[in-house]
Symmetry: C2
Subunit: 193 residues, 2 copies
DNA sequence: TCCAGTTTTCAGTAATTTCTGAAAGTTTGA
DNA sequence: TCAAACTTTCAGAAATTACTGAAAACTGGA
């Protein structure tokens, strides 16, 4: 690896972090490299920069594409494939959240739904089911809520972000004048009536 | 492994999921088992239920304790250690978020701060720094915001949760009557003045 | 202090994951 | 339709991670 030290430490850090996140080192490194690069890179550029094999690079890029984290493009008069990351960091964050939702959260919810449907035999199973239901409710709630945020336009989001720790105050305020908003603050409660 | 099918599928699923989350299968399985168990379990109970070695169980419990995800307790007249998970699913979620913050987010922020401080030499490094700064800002913002939510009391949180997709509406409403709340909606903006 | 019951450590082994080089596959333009 | 330029696949090697059994280390009572 032969990169400016500043970029190198970033790339190496993402490589390490990868393992905490279930992605492998090369994938993390390549992503980091593309993220900070000021121009799209082709596979050989990456091999040169990271110091891994050509085939490994190919695999890693395939995985990054499956995660929709890199864009593939072609430069005029060059047959090679060039890769880059989207510019908008918020869009990147959204993509990551959507993919994890699809790969990890959905299967878990499906499993939980299945288990909750079963007829329990005995107290232990009844208790287990109740616990699974608690987990199911929490995941669904957080997921829904997160999806709302994820799908906000950047502008609204920026405002909400800047609100910071005021979210709680805003909420309390909203509650206290609840009727004015059309009693919507209870919209997702179990019983609409 | 010899468990009711309902519990078994839950335990196995968490084992599989572990790998997506950088924890190993046994740790995931043991956590799941404790989560649905209606009483605290000792290490031998776990060995019996999961079918792993005693030493592996010991290691896994140590790791779960390091993550603050299991409670250790003693039963009167029994020298063995019994383990269980906290009852409150929200508290569990909070703990997980705090630990990940500490282990993954903080080191990344530190690395980014370091890189951003460096004097860039050349355009590539300058661009890389700008990108790192974008990432830094996003992580800090999301982190702060998440911490606010994390630290809410359960009651407020429940209300906010039930708000669901109304968060956006509430925000817009709040903005439009901004002055009434004391102009706090800008509190975390760059310039306080 | 010693002992029985219990947990932890650790070195070696097993399993899994990652990585590589060689070969096969694809695409484009002449 | 061929060849050059480039990408992907894949079987095996290398590296890493997980797991085990045996032994060591605790711990609390007699």
């Amino acid at each position: 690896m032969n990169l400016p030290p500043l970029i190198q430490s970033f790339v190496l850090h993402f490589g390490e972090m990868g393992s905490h996140w279930g992605i492998n080192r090369t994938v993390g490194q390549i992503y980091a490299l593309l993220y900070v690069s000021d121009k799209p890179l082709n596979a050989d550029d990456i091999v040169e920069a990271i110091g891994c094999s050509r085939s490994n690079t190919s695999m890693a890029l395939k995985e990054l594409q499956a995660w929709r984290l890199v864009k593939l493009q072609h430069l005029p008069g060059d047959r090679r494939e060039y890769f880059s990351t989207p510019d908008d960091v918020w869009a990147i964050f959204k993509t990551l959240a959507e993919e994890r939702q699809k790969r990890e959260v959905e299967p878990t919810l499906t499993m939980l739904r299945g288990a909750i449907m079963e007829t329990p035999s005995g107290d232990a199973e009844r208790h287990a089911q109740a616990r699974m239901n608690e987990m199911y409710q929490l995941i669904e709630l957080v997921t829904k809520w997160f999806a709302d945020i994820r799908d906000m336009d950047v502008d609204t989001l920026q405002k909400l972000m800047k609100l910071g720790s005021q979210v709680q105050k805003v909420l309390q305020f909203t509650q206290s004048i609840g009727r004015l908003t059309g009693r919507d603050s209870n919209r997702n409660a179990d019983a609409e009536a």
